[in-house]
């Protein structure tokens, strides 16, 4: 790739391009080496507190000192194997949904259905396991729980909402339209506030939902409304002939949707659904405003510690890297799906 010709065509194709290239190279040369020095070469990796970081580089020791909290929050140390088990099983719970050529996919798909229930059981505790209150959860655990939990539980809801919005029954479609447009019209923060402050007022005494679940409810409602619009796009993209053919065969409404329309419509909406899921995953960090300690919340708590004052950049960079890995990974996946869908369609057209 890096041939003389390539360089000439892509970097020095004209006078203006040559000037731009030179300026950019100078700019990068003056920025990247100091950045790497700060990030790696001059960084302090192990120290007891802020004063231990004497070098000019980053003070990564704060991350090491708080690593447990970043991963598990305040989950009791003796029970932490449960969280580790949840983490370890996560690939088996998610991969079968995303990867259609996975070996033993059918068996794993059954596991993927069981997995969410297993997660609730392992994290909360239950018969045979000590109960761990959700206010002990935090860090990556909480971020993943809210993000993935919200996405997975909201998915069936968004299908129902999308079908409802396109329903021929005026009352059903009106209810769905109002719900979807209302949720999409307000910021997630107000929904989180709604969940944390108003939900207790709406429910009878004794029926207490903990803060994490309240946040999860808000996240699910939010994602369901956005997902519904994406699914609706897929439903609208279906040629009318598909509906007519299904009806001509005498299929009922549910048979038509479950067997003919949804399998095709969902397939083309998956890339867009993954994109809204990425958005939601990022948005879960808003829960810090209702006092939950997700990754960002734990980071802020670490910053408030007098032992580690003024290490904002280190903490924020660390959290950013974690979010980036997840979100960038998923956006690559959505691109890959889009490409795959395109080639699928091409082969059909041939």
């Amino acid at each position: 790739m890096l041939s003389f010709n390539w360089i000439r065509q892509n970097l020095f194709s004209s006078w203006t391009n040559s000037i731009i290239t030179v300026v950019l190279i100078y700019f990068l040369a003056s920025i990247i080496p100091p950045m790497f020095d700060w990030l790696f070469f001059e960084a302090t990796w192990i120290a007891d507190d802020r004063t231990g970081c004497t070098s000019d580089g980053a003070c990564w020791a704060i991350i090491g000192a708080r690593f447990y909290q970043f991963m598990y929050g305040f989950y009791p140390t003796e029970e932490v194997w449960r969280v580790n088990l949840v983490y370890a099983l996560l690939p088996f719970g998610i991969l079968p949904l995303l990867w259609d050529k996975m070996p033993f996919r059918k068996q794993f798909l059954i596991f993927a259905i069981v997995y969410p229930f297993l997660v609730f059981f392992l994290l909360y505790g239950g018969p045979g396991l000590t109960a761990v209150a959700s206010n002990k959860w935090g860090g990556l655990l909480l971020t993943l729980f809210l993000g993935l939990g919200g996405i997975i539980i909201a998915f069936p809801l968004s299908i129902f909402l999308a079908l409802g919005r396109r329903s021929e029954m005026p009352a059903i479609s009106a209810i769905c339209v109002v719900f979807i447009e209302f949720i999409r019209g307000v910021p997630l923060i107000t929904l989180l506030f709604f969940g944390s402050m108003m939900l207790p007022l709406f429910l009878p005494e004794g029926l207490d939902i903990d803060t994490v679940l309240r946040a999860l409810v808000a996240v699910i409602i939010f994602q369901a409304a956005y997902g519904a619009e994406v699914v609706r796009g897929g439903l609208q993209a279906m040629p009318k002939g598909q509906y007519e053919a299904a009806q001509a065969l005498g299929l009922s409404y549910w048979q038509m949707n479950l067997k003919i329309i949804l399998p095709q419509a969902l397939k083309i909406t998956i890339p867009a659904l993954v994109n809204t899921a990425i958005g939601l995953f990022k948005d879960t960090s808003l829960v810090i405003v209702i006092g939950l300690l997700d990754l960002l919340g734990i980071g802020r708590a670490a910053l408030a510690d007098t032992k580690w004052m003024a290490l904002h950049v280190e903490v924020y960079v660390f959290i950013s890297v974690i979010f980036f890995i997840f979100c960038f990974g998923f956006s690559r996946y959505s691109l890959y799906l889009e490409k795959k869908l395109n080639t699928d369609n091409d082969s059909e057209n041939k």
Binding site: F193, R300, S320
Partner: protein, 385 residues
């Protein structure tokens, strides 16, 4: 006699809808009952009377409305609304310019330039906005103290208390300049329409852009000088421990501006890129073979077609930015959610009323933006033939 036939679709639809609406109504009734009971039990007042009570707290940032602690909660609402709208409008404008710039750079023939734009887009859009806001805010409040402010030119000073910039002071006669600007804009719109009609009927072209540009710039400028230059700038000056004069823009606002516009710009740039790429190559080749000049191809062939693809998703980005401005609460920007939905709510304890007002306001803003953008969208869409 009335016959019950469950195989009749219309009849079934009525039954299902009646059941759903009935359940919904009962659910709402139950919630209202429970809520009323809970509120009474906790001694929480209801109604909107609290809007007239004095707020009792100060709002540090209120550039348009004068606010003191004895003002009512309704004033808190107005200040918050003004601040939300301010950051949204400025953020949308900045994000649009940045987004178009980055989107065009992404398509540059210079590999290095387009890669830098790509890295920028991927980094900013894959990191939560709230994290970026906190990051900018942390950087800003850890800037040097006022004494050692970073000077940008001789007029802007950046320090840990925010940005000190020149303050425009409008003289009495400035009203004439404003009127001149409005007249110039109206005249250019009328002129554009007339020129377009003339071109369609006779084929004669006028340099519309040039003439409009000149009239919008020069006419107000002439009026400005005739009316005696009624606009002054007051520069900030360091006196003792603080700056005197000029505008003080708090770090919260600067962080919100940077965070919102940089984050949204990366999404807009992708929309712009997709829009430009969506114009089929044949269109450009056809224009080239007709011998049109490059800028004509850009203005008359590429941009009008790309805009059709760009505008709908751009609208939703504006909506997102407006809703995302509610994240200001994380860094203490005095917007609607922070002031009215946060402090007022905690002081009065009337969560339901406060949240209802905040949600209704955002809903109104969202619906208004999409209403106007839909009108614009319809205007530029391809007319069906």
């Amino acid at each position: 006699m009335f016959k019950i036939d469950f195989s009749d679709q219309k009849f079934r639809a009525i039954i299902i809808q009646t059941i759903v609406v009935g359940l919904l109504a009962y659910g709402l009734y139950w919630i209202v009952q429970t809520t009323a009971y809970n509120l009474e039990k906790r001694n929480i007042a209801t109604g909107f009377g609290f809007l007239n009570d004095p707020a009792g707290f100060d709002i540090s940032f209120s550039p348009f409305i004068k606010f003191v602690a004895t003002d009512s909660h309704f004033a808190v609402y107005l200040v918050g609304l003004a601040n939300t709208l301010l950051i949204s409008v400025i953020g949308c404008i900045a994000a649009t310019f940045m987004g178009f710039f980055v989107g065009i750079i992404r398509l540059s023939s210079n590999w290095l330039l387009s890669q830098i734009a790509y890295v920028y887009v991927e980094i900013t859009r894959n990191i939560p906005l709230i994290l970026q806001l906190l990051f900018w805010y942390a950087l800003l409040i850890n800037l040097p103290r006022v004494k050692n402010s970073i000077a940008i030119g001789e007029t802007f000073f950046l320090n840990n208390r925010g940005l000190n910039s020149p303050q425009p002071i409008f003289g009495e006669n400035f009203i004439y300049v404003t009127v001149a600007i409005v007249i110039a804009i109206i005249v250019s719109i009328v002129f554009s329409r007339w020129a377009k009609r003339t071109q369609e009927t006779t084929g004669k072209q006028y340099p519309v852009v040039l003439i409009n540009f000149a009239s919008v710039i020069f006419f107000p400028l002439i009026v400005y000088f005739i009316s005696g230059s009624p606009l002054d700038f007051e520069n900030p000056e360091l006196k003792g421990f603080n700056f005197v004069g000029g505008m003080k823009i708090p770090p919260e606002f600067v962080a919100m501006f940077l965070g919102l516009s940089i984050y949204t710009a990366s999404f807009i740039s992708e929309i712009v890129r997709a829009g430009i790429l969506s114009v089929s190559k044949g269109q450009i080749e056809a224009a080239n073979s007709l011998g049109l000049r490059q800028n004509v191809i850009m203005n008359l062939i590429i941009i009008p077609q790309a805009l059709r693809v760009i505008v709908p998703p751009l609208t939703s980005q504006f909506l997102n930015l407006t809703k995302n401005s509610s994240l200001g609460i994380a860094i203490g920007y005095a917007d609607l959610v922070h002031g009215f939905g946060g402090i007022s709510l905690n002081q009065t304890g009337q969560a339901i009323e406060c949240m209802a007002i905040v949600m209704a306001t955002y809903l109104t803003i969202s619906l208004t933006i999409s209403f106007f953008m839909n009108i614009y969208n319809r205007a530029i869409q391809l007319e069906g033939r």
